[in-house]
């Protein structure tokens, strides 16, 4: 058995990862190029649709309703898939999902599997499992293709290669496409795209199995929906004789109309497009009289920790439609990039989802990677209260004694004083006077005991000598 259930994450090392990424010149150059692109796109798309905010409210309500009755809708969906000639496979864990996919691939003697972009594929590490079984997985999304060549994880949920410069892509292509003329011109993005297009084109016709993800599953019809721009997902699922859909179970909505509402906010929030180039509904295998399309249609419904989030303070995270708006607007993500987060899902949505899926001991650091500026919640098309949930994870991290000793001691000292108001005022008053004296000369402090990290990059204005509370008491207030 080649399936593995070990999670390969470096989330525990977030601090060190972040430091390395801040010093990574290529990454910083790539992030600089991308910065603003998504933000401006989303703003324009929102401004062009007066109903945008009302649609967000409806989209949230649709998901809340569906999650409330998830068991009903999943069974209704399965029945419809079966009626249309497809198969639903329920996978409790990543290892179960790997095993199901491998069984299907073996049953048709697959040598090559073509893949559309799928975050669930990343989550269950399906490429590793396929390779270990002697099956060649080919990523066909341009960004995924690039990072597959480089042996990297995606650094963004919709722009997997956003961390790379075109020069890095060129280097990877020259290293891997050795059958091509080494003197060819390959500097501009269009020549890189053309080369990838030519190479992948042949591969579309070689695979026995095509794997895609799903943006939505429809209970009414048993359909799956993919939303893409390149058309690679469609070529991956139309040409091979078997189509496998990897989907987590919260992707379901009751009706096509419900899907339409979510689709209207998805592309706008993600890339700023009104609608992506290709939105494709697939229902079952090809019909008897169809001239093309797959002969088999399988859906792997993945749980992998999600049902355990239902009914908890993290349930609202399951509304997420994976648009990436939270990371596009996050000052932390925009500084350190996606790889620093150490697992499949980066940015604010990853900081909330990852501890739920791989455990708070593995990913409990991530919710600290936030300035709590609130931009993520503000732009989330599904109104997910990301900062609130990050705070819940911090509480869990503290309760499980996973936060660092210095932070725990500091919090303990603060709590001791905070519970004793007179002592607290005495201590803070003393502290203010001390700081005021220390900064008397310059009016600023450029170093502080225990706060060296803070003063390393900026100066602290010295206090005026009295605390807020004492000034309040002496009547210094403006009504």
């Amino acid at each position: 058995m080649s399936t593995s259930s070990t999670v390969h994450s470096t989330s525990r090392n977030f601090k060190n990862n972040a430091r390395d990424q801040l010093a990574n010149e290529d990454l910083q150059a790539a992030l600089n190029k991308a910065r603003g692109h998504f933000v401006d796109g989303r703003t324009t798309a929102r401004d062009n649709l007066p109903e945008f905010d009302a649609l967000r409210g409806q989209a949230r309500d649709i998901k809340d309703h569906t999650l409330e009755h998830l068991d009903f809708y999943l069974e209704a969906y399965e029945e419809k898939v079966r009626e249309s000639g497809g198969h639903v496979h329920w996978a409790r864990t990543a290892a179960d999902a790997q095993r199901i996919v491998l069984d299907i691939c073996r049953s048709v003697g697959a040598k090559q599997v073509n893949k559309g972009k799928s975050m669930i594929g990343e989550e269950i590490e399906i490429n590793k499992a396929l390779e270990a079984d002697g099956i060649r997985p080919i990523e066909t999304d341009l960004g995924e293709y690039i990072i597959q060549l480089r042996g990297e994880l995606p650094s963004h949920i919709i722009a997997p290669a956003v961390h790379l410069t075109k020069a890095q892509v060129e280097t990877s292509f020259r290293e891997n496409h050795t059958e091509l003329d080494p003197d060819r011109v390959l500097e501009e993005p269009i020549s890189l795209l053309d080369e990838a297009r030519t190479i992948l084109r042949k591969k579309y016709f070689e695979a026995e199995v095509g794997i895609t993800g799903a943006n939505l599953l429809i209970a009414e019809t048993g359909s799956s929906i993919i939303v893409t721009n390149e058309g690679n997902g469609d070529l991956s699922q139309l040409i091979p004789k078997v189509h496998i859909v990897l989907a987590s179970l919260e992707k379901i909505v009751p009706t096509l109309e419900d899907a339409a509402t979510i689709l209207r906010v998805l592309a706008r929030s993600a890339t700023g497009q009104e609608f992506s180039s290709y939105t494709t509904l697939s229902t079952g295998p090809k019909r008897a009289e169809d001239p093309d399309g797959p002969e088999q249609y399988h859906v792997v419904l993945l749980d992998n920790g999600r049902t355990d989030m239902i009914g908890t303070e993290f349930e609202e995270m399951l509304r997420c439609i994976r648009c990436g708006a939270c990371m596009n607007h996050c000052p932390v993500y925009q500084s350190v990039g996606g790889h620093a987060y150490g697992w499949v899902y980066p940015g604010p949505m990853g900081s909330v989802l990852s501890p739920g899926l791989i455990g708070v001991d593995e990913a409990g650091h991530l919710p600290n990677a936030s300035t709590f500026c609130g931009r993520c919640e503000e732009v989330c098309p599904m109104h997910i209260p990301l900062p609130k949930m990050m705070r819940h994870w911090r509480e869990r991290e503290f309760e499980s004694h996973l936060s660092p000793g210095s932070a725990r001691v500091g919090l303990g000292v603060w709590a001791f004083f905070a519970r004793r108001p007179r002592l607290y005022q005495l201590a803070t008053g003393l502290q203010m006077r001390m700081l005021a004296r220390m900064g008397r000369k310059r009016g600023r402090l450029s170093s502080l005991p225990l706060a060296g990290g803070w003063t390393k990059y900026r100066e602290l204005p010295a206090p005026q000598g009295r605390t807020f509370q004492s000034r309040w008491r002496s009547g210094e207030r403006v009504r």
Binding site: L70, W90, P189, R201, N229, D234, L256, E257, L281, P291
Partner: protein, 241 residues
């Protein structure tokens, strides 16, 4: 495999039910309400930009499609379609050898009268450079074509050739995706459609040509699907109101 599958299903369903404080499925009354919600498939908010007359919808469709880099042409009759397509191909320096959907809708045009076009009907192969299909529906809201798979329309025609030419009678322009869904439901239920109650295997909503922004967020057309999407709108007048 099925025994293992069932246990996965049982575990998932019972975990979901436990978190809702239930032992088993939802009660009968709730199930009936949820089934009615599905069967009713009520529309949510549909943007008001399409609350205009049909001629306005055709204009909106064309405008939105152009914004996402599709090109368009208008002709007044199916009889003009072959020449319009031949002109487009010549103007863009593209081959006149095309693969065309075996779609009876397209038979109304006098293809044989245009000596330039070399037409094969059927499924595209890798070397095919240009495809011609019709579109059963088009959504004005975002300039989106809707394509249904079936004997008359192999879905690969929408993706394999580098240039996709679409013949769209103006009467088929509708307001919203929801209008397309209603049409798909009607088609599935129609006993003459031969679809046995099922929707088409694949419904493709297509909004402009293939594109990618994966290299330094530079917008590039023609990533894996067509580099060019050309829409010939036939002003058949049938949908005017």
């Amino acid at each position: 495999m099925s025994a293992k599958n069932n246990s996965g299903k049982d575990q998932i369903l019972s975990s979901l039910r436990r978190s809702r404080g239930r032992e088993g499925p939802v009660d009968d009354a709730t199930a009936a309400t949820l089934r009615a919600r599905i069967a009713g498939h009520k529309r949510n908010i549909v943007p008001a930009r399409t609350d205009i007359d049909h001629a306005g919808l055709v204009d909106l469709f064309e405008n939105m499609a152009q914004k996402v880099f599709a090109t368009t042409a208008r002709v007044s009759d199916m009889a003009d379609v072959p020449d319009a397509i031949a002109d487009y191909l010549r103007g863009a320096n593209l081959p006149s050898k095309v693969v065309m959907a075996p779609d009876t809708d397209l038979d109304a045009a006098p293809w044989a009268e245009n000596a330039l076009l070399e037409i094969r009907r059927g499924v595209p192969d890798e070397p095919d450079q240009v495809s011609i299909t019709s579109a059963p529906s088009a959504v004005a809201e975002t300039g989106t074509l809707a394509m249904y798979s079936g004997p008359a329309h192999p879905s690969t025609l929408n993706f394999i050739p580098e240039t996709h030419v679409v013949v769209l009678p103006a009467s088929r322009v509708v307001k919203s995706y929801e209008d397309v869904f209603d049409a798909v439901r009607e088609l599935a239920a129609d006993p003459d459609s031969g679809r046995g109650g099922l929707p088409p295997r694949t419904v493709n909503f297509i909004t402009g040509p293939s594109r990618s922004g994966d290299i330094e967020q530079t917008l590039l057309l023609g990533a894996h699907g067509p580099r060019r999407l050309h829409i010939v709108i036939v002003e058949d007048g049938a949908g005017d109101d």
